[in-house]
Symmetry: C6
Subunit: 231 residues, 6 copies
């Protein structure tokens, strides 16, 4: 099974080399756990390996994303200029046009652009654009299928339903995805410093570690301390 | 009482030989607990014993299911080609046609095909196709009856209502089923490695163990460590 | 006060001889706690004592009920043939006809048949047939009154609202009933084997034990270990 | 402040003699905690003291109430025949007529009958007759006012919102009432026997004990063990 | 900053002399924690200091309020007769007229009457008169503004959302108020006697103690044991 | 990355100098945790550094805000008169005009006025003006975008969903914001004094401490005790 390296030190080891190629993986966590950073780091790793990437965002505009990268020493501009990376900003104020745009353009675009990595940040905000449960579900299924057909490896960030739980806000994307990585924060009983932990809860068609590992968000991005235990 | 072996080492012992023949058994668990693997393994065991099987899926397409099997060393292609196994992919975007298709075709198909094992993965996603509580219930009852009339042994996977609980998302299928196997993950107090546990909560018309047993998803599929205790 | 023996060893002692005659008793528990077995055992005890019984079911068909009994060594067929026992299967797909059937026929039927024990398995599924809270309530009150007028002793099984709690799904039947027996499972802190426990929470017009007792579902049906403590 | 003895040994001491006269007191508890017994015992005490009483019930019919009393050695028939006690059975299947009956007849009836004690068993079931929150509230306020105008001391039983909590199902009656007595059951950590406890949470215009006391339902009715501690 | 003494011994010390003048303070607690007594004591203190007061009530009528005071040795009649105190009873059965009455009359009345202290008992019941969330909010904002314009110091009692929590039933009044005093009861682990505790959670424009203090409701009203710790 | 000092001693150190310039930061906490004080202190720090500020409030009027400042020794009047500070009071009783006013005027006003700091107190109350989830979301996105375009650094206060949790009432603003500071109170197990704690949960494009620090609201405003541990 071919692997796609996440570029996150420690995590690739837990996954025996990275995400399985063409998988649709959800990175789920509360705000402040580094989901956007995770997505960027995944794309930057692709860029390093000569792959092209697409970053679909509903939260921040292109300029903010560039600054996000800058903060970790990743200069995205050359790759944006060189057409190795595209940032697609969806406007959350117009549901219908957004849907149409995704529906009709994405597969063609991915193929013509030649992207092998896609990030959707976040699928929960995307889902909020739809009014009924039925629409949310239909579009989530449709989007998943679209992306699967492109053959690219996809990472979707998702917000959790409550404070720090192991369930997405919609309670669906974790079931339709091929893999789920959960980011959590951990308030130690004696207070002090909040610790961040990562676990791979699901990864279809591959063996994976089920250990809970501490991670940190440092100058170079996310680092999983695979050799350490949480306590 | 005739038994149908699940092919899951350790579980058949807990069940005195396997599921009672013609039972409708629900395998319930959170994402990442191996429900799809459980269903495939159950069918593969049938194939080994010369039985035919049907895999009804709403989550993955045929190609993905084949790869799922491959990851555990189960080559499904010969049996698909040899008409011992059929994978039926229901499109979650079209509720009415889906329902009609199940309603009218399933019993005839099961009989003409000669299947003695059926897997529905997952009954929770199937249920999401319906809008009202009333429709969900009616169709669940109808499906259960359809399958019962075929005489085949049926395994339905179901998602849990909250994070790791012992109740399905709809809170109904565990009551209408003949048997319920619950898959859970267990976060040890000192963190470290997530442990997977299995328990047989219900199995009509037969004695069964009520012990909670650890299991793992290894290269050959699910293995229940029937001789071990969780702690 | 005249007593009706449940036939469940250990429980009749806790109840000073059995259910008070003509009481309407709810047996409440999660799936897999043996509610259907409890109901059958109650009828079988009546048959042994020369009483007639009616089993109203929404979950299983007559053939399944016969097999349920068989698994515990109870051969229901002679009594079915001899018209000492009747199994009434309500179809959950037709609410209106079901209601009418119960409403108009039950009292007459009970009297002409001469039944002194009635089991409804389950009142929760019956309640799901109705759409509004108002309909559910009205019909529950009506059913209770119908049965009370027949003078028979009635046992209704009910599902619990959440996982293992001491409240029925509708939160009503435990208040209108004359008695409530709660079946629960108990996950010991060190995992291992799930233990089943029984308690009599309510029994109008009689003194009863309020002890929590372990029970098991063995070859001969339910046995309450009245002499043992849970821990 | 004039007192009305409840007739419950131990409780009258906690209340410095009984309920304040003309108070509207709610007795709140889960099923099986003895609310109906509490209400009957309160009326029986009045009968002993030569007072007249009215028992308004939505749960049981007159015959059942008589048997309820019989189980505790209270023969209600002489007082029913002698017009010292009236049992009013409201039919829960007819909301409108019920309301009208209460509205127009109660005050007149109480006065002409000369009742100084009224029991409503239960105000929660009465509330279920109304569809909207607004109707429930209006009628609860109206009923409270009606009864207050009669000058009689009133005891209303109420069901709790969840399993054993200190809040009524509607979350309102405990605020409008002059007093609240909470009945709870207590599952000791080592299982064994369920213990019943009573506390006086509210009693306007009087000092009262805030101790939690064990009680039991014995042959002579409810007895509060005022001298004992729960543990 | 000018202070308005609450008259509650111990609390005025925690508040450096009392509520800041013209503040709108919410006293929040479950039933039986003494909210009405708190409100009356606050008015009685004003009467002692020669101030006039208004008591707006939705729970009890004037006669009951007078008796409430009597129970603590406060004879309200002379001040009612002498026009130093007014009790306004709002009828909860007529929403529209109630609103209009508050809206149009209150400010004028407060000024002409010359009241410097206002009590609303309770703002939660007042809020129940309105059907929609929007109406509740609008009227709460409107009422708050009305009262603020009068320049009087206002105390509103509020019921808590669940059993003993630190949030009001509507979850709004604690945010719009200038101050919040929370009354709670505390069930000690070894059962025994329920203890009442008070904390000042919020008091704009002033420093205040954040200690949790035990209090009792004794013959002379509420006393905060400011020198004692809860445990 | 340019920093904007919050003026809160201890916090600027945790943030390596302050909020990143032009960030949109949410300060989230229950009532009584000092959110309004936090916002004022942030503006006052700007005034000290010669920057202009805008305070948009839905909770208090201008006069109250001035008094709020006075209580901490901040005399806002000279800056209000000198047009360095503007307090904008939105009327919560008129939803449509409020929205229009924000939408059309804010960006122009911020630019012409030359404000580099904006406070919205609170975004939760602002959100309550809208009826549907869809309107709330749209307007929150719109407001965020408006403010971002002005280039000013913005602080929004937000109320928490339940009692003291780490999630806003709407569950959205913490995801769209660039940073989140959480204020909580902490009830020590032995009761006594409530402790206030602060944590920086999220701060895009910068490294930040994840320690939980105690803080107090003293005469000079909020002080974070960065050198101390909570326990």
């Amino acid at each position: 099974m071919e692997r796609v390296r996440t570029g996150i030190s420690g995590l690739d080891e837990m996954l025996n080399g990275g995400f399985p190629k063409s998988h649709n993986v959800v990175v789920m966590g509360s705000f402040g756990t580094g989901k956007t950073t995770f997505g960027l780091q995944f794309l930057v790793q692709g860029l390093k390996e000569g792959e092209k990437g697409i970053f679909i965002t509903l939260e921040e505009d292109e300029e903010s994303i560039i600054q996000d990268g800058m903060a970790f020493g990743w200069d995205l501009k050359p790759d944006l200029d060189g057409k190795n990376l595209v940032i697609v900003k969806l406007e959350p104020t117009d549901a219908l046009s957004t849907i149409s745009r995704i529906k009709s353009d994405l597969p063609k675009f991915v193929k013509s652009f030649g992207a092998s990595r896609i990030v959707v940040d976040s699928v929960s905000l995307l889902n909020m654009l739809f009014e009924t449960e039925h629409e949310k579900r239909s579009n989530l299924f449709y989007l998943t299928q679209m992306i699967k057909e492109t053959g690219a490896t996809c990472l979707m960030t998702a917000e959790v339903s409550n404070d720090n739980s192991v369930a997405s806000r919609d309670g669906l994307v974790e079931y339709t995805a091929d893999g789920v990585v959960v980011l959590q924060y951990d308030e130690p009983p004696e207070k002090g410093e909040i610790r961040l932990t990562l676990r791979v809860v699901k990864m279809r068609r591959t063996n994976h570690s089920r250990r809970i590992k501490p991670y940190s968000i440092s100058e170079g991005g996310i680092v999983v301390h695979a050799g350490a235990e949480v306590y």
